[in-house]
């Protein structure tokens, strides 16, 4: 009879699970809130930056269309292409730099290895934008701050420092057994062959991670693009364009399009992530036999 008073073990567990789920659901709502709001705003028909209700009164696709049609003042398609070119090029370069440097530091032993790693650590402690004015004047001296050269300048800026952020990839390479490398060396492989044929195929998760981070950095950067582009509006990147849209003169008429632009810039990152996601789970499992 007393069993009815005492909650059963399964009952207690389901109460616990219930609480956990409620907490998680609450957190999910809090995290998703701003994103939902941006997406809703991008479809909002009422103009202006201020609304008194969360859900738009009417929905429209005009905000997206406007980004691509109304290009005389803020040329969004061109900014999008500029950013895409810069991001893709610096992504390829930076990924190669990071992986190559990490491989060398993980597998090769040379005199400057330790000092290099220490130096990278110290340099990594400084925020990158501290150097932005210096970077600007160096690029100017090279004649890269006018016209179409700005793209090259930005690619150089975004990929140039990549060799310093090797820590995570190096840590991953360190976990791959040396035995595989040694076996390959005995079979007559060169270092390059080991890197490209053995190490890389075994390190897909870290390659994906490197590609994603080195794509997102230039894709989202504002400060270097602003300092280097200056008045060359045909070289503006998306970040500068979006920033312009919320300036005093534009904010009222461009605000909803600004939200639409914010949604659009997340698309390439989302595609990249979805394409590469499946490689995340494939790891070293089953790579080493015996």
């Amino acid at each position: 009879m007393s069993g009815q008073r005492m909650p059963s073990a399964t009952g207690r567990r389901s109460v616990k699970n219930g609480i956990v789920h409620i907490v998680l659901a609450l957190l999910a709502v809090i995290w998703l809130f701003p994103i939902v709001w941006v997406v809703l705003t991008s479809f909002r028909e009422e103009k202006g930056s201020y609304v008194s209700n969360f859900f738009p009164k009417a929905y429209t696709l005009e905000n997206y269309k406007r980004l691509f049609i109304d290009t005389t003042v803020l040329n969004f398609p061109r900014m999008f292409m500029n950013t895409l070119i810069i991001a893709v090029c610096s992504c390829i370069l930076a990924t190669f730099y990071v992986l190559a440097v990490s491989y060398c530091l993980s597998r090769l032993r040379f005199k400057m290895r330790k000092p290099y790693m220490n130096m990278a650590m110290v340099l990594g402690l400084f925020p990158g934008f501290m150097s932005m004015i210096a970077v600007y004047f160096i690029l100017k001296a090279m004649g890269l701050t006018e016209g179409g050269w700005i793209r090259l300048a930005l690619i150089l800026v975004y990929s140039g420092g990549a060799g310093l952020s090797f820590q995570i990839a190096k840590g991953f390479f360190d976990t791959l057994p040396m035995a595989i490398d040694e076996a390959a060396l005995l079979d007559g492989c060169t270092r390059w062959q080991i890197f490209s044929r053995i190490t890389l195929p075994l390190s897909k998760p870290i390659i994906i991670y490197t590609i994603l981070t080195s794509f997102m950095a230039p894709w989202l950067d504002f400060i270097f693009a602003k300092v280097i582009c200056r008045a060359n509006s045909d070289q503006y990147t998306i970040a500068i364009g979006l920033w312009k849209m919320v300036e005093k003169e534009y904010i009222d008429s461009w605000y909803t399009s600004f939200a639409a632009g914010a949604v659009l810039i997340s698309i390439p990152i989302a595609i990249l992530f979805l394409c590469m996601q499946k490689f995340y789970v494939e790891g070293v499992s089953g790579a080493v036999k015996g």
């Binding site: 930056s49 016209g147 200056r230 008045a231 509006s233 008429s253």
Partner: protein, 410 residues
């Protein structure tokens, strides 16, 4: 092999293209002097949708000056941010650019602004009022050609307020809702100026400091606390004013010419614009005073051909340039002759802005110490809005604000 040759050829081409960009003034084929002028303006001045004002003006400038064979290079920098762009690297900046006068010292500090003298200065002085030129004068030197005034005033719904109503804030509040950007430090001082507060004497004497303390400022603060309790008074924040005008919940707001088109769209035929009203403090009518400044065309002292650059600046800011600017983009002219033109004066916005500039505004100081004055005022506005400034502590809060405005600390 062919590929390699192609690559070398391409590289050579690019190198040559890079070199030709650096031409200064060289004698042209027909004996005319070759001039390269780089001009920066906001992107609307160059866009097809708003009539390519800059390109049109530059073309006719080239026609009127056949002694030069001019190549124009255009760049985009709006008046508010041009100062940062130019002072970052004056040598690689435009020869002629547009700037807002409150950024004057940023540029003179970076030696990025040329002085106007001689016949050009005389010409500018003839075309503009001395009040306006004061906004561009530093230590007696003139640094720009003004092309528009820059201030804020009032937009209202004619269906709700009569022309008599809009002369006083209290009579407006009794008839409809009024929205004011109380937390914006560009707008809030209007109330304080009305009761005798001042900044740097007449705005140019740095040693006099900010005078935002004492009984006069406390009175205003107490007035604002009560004003906020009025259900017809709304704080305009994050664009709520224009949104309210659109849905009809707000009948008057304070903004500048950049919002003119939005207000026109929201109110249509009922759009009204007027200089700032008075407010009633302890039974006395006090005038609201907005900050006023100007936007001007500046010349880079690093320009290779100074004469052409100065002449172009004077031309762009001259009568013809302002007229076209107004026709294409509704940029409000400030030229004396144009402001006598009946067609232009019949424009509500022009009349309101000009009247505000002439009668209900103070010159926005651009002395370096002015930069200490923004944050304390903003905090005062926020404190009044969220209730942390009360009748009881108004005196202390005002003294704290005044102290912060007069100190160099952050």
């Amino acid at each position: 092999m062919l590929r390699k040759k192609c690559a070398i050829f391409l590289a050579a081409c690019l190198f040559a293209a890079g070199l030709t960009g650096c031409g200064g003034s060289v004698q042209g084929n027909e004996g005319r002097e070759k001039v390269r002028l780089m001009v920066w303006s906001p992107s609307e001045d160059q866009s097809k949708a708003s009539g390519e004002w800059l390109q049109k003006m530059c073309r006719s400038f080239a026609e009127e000056n056949p002694q030069w064979d001019i190549t124009f290079v255009y760049g985009v920098a709006d008046e508010a941010t041009a100062a940062t762009q130019v002072s970052q690297d004056p040598e690689a900046s435009a020869d002629v650019f547009m700037f807002a006068n409150d950024t004057l010292t940023t540029m003179t500090d970076a030696k990025a602004l040329a002085k106007f003298g001689g016949k050009y200065r005389k010409e500018i002085e003839e075309e503009n009022t001395p009040e306006l030129l004061k906004s561009l004068t530093l230590d007696g030197e003139l640094y720009g050609v003004p092309f528009t005034t820059n201030t804020w005033y009032m937009y209202y719904d004619k269906a709700v307020f009569t022309e008599e109503d809009v002369k006083n804030l209290e009579s407006m509040l009794s008839k409809g809702t009024v929205s004011f950007p109380l937390t914006n430090s560009w707008n809030l001082p209007a109330f304080y100026f009305g009761n005798g507060c001042s900044l740097f004497g007449d705005g140019t004497d740095e040693s006099k400091g900010a005078d935002f303390g004492g009984e006069k400022a406390v009175e205003v603060t107490n007035y604002l606390i009560d004003l906020l309790k009025n259900p017809n008074f709304k704080v305009d924040e994050g664009g709520s004013g224009i949104a309210g005008l659109r849905d009809g919940s707000i009948h008057a707001m304070f903004s500048g010419s950049w919002d003119a088109n939005n207000v026109k769209e929201a109110l249509g035929e009922n759009m009204g614009a007027a200089a700032l009203p008075t407010y009633t403090l302890n039974g006395q009518k006090k005038q609201l005073y907005s900050y006023a400044g100007s936007k001007a065309i500046g010349v880079n002292p690093n320009a290779k051909n100074m004469e052409a650059a100065v002449k172009l600046a004077v031309y762009l800011g001259g009568e013809k340039g302002q007229k076209l600017h107004y026709e294409l983009r509704n940029v409000i002219p400030c030229n004396k002759k144009l402001l006598e033109d009946k067609d232009i004066l019949s424009d509500l916005v022009v009349a309101a802005q000009t009247e505000t500039f002439d009668k209900t505004s103070v010159l926005q100081p651009f002395v370096p110490k002015m930069s200490n004055c923004w944050v304390p005022v903003e905090n005062m506005g926020k404190g009044i809005r969220n209730g942390s400034v009360t009748h009881e502590n108004a005196k202390e809060q005002v003294e704290a604000m005044n102290k912060a405005m007069n100190s160099d600390g952050i």
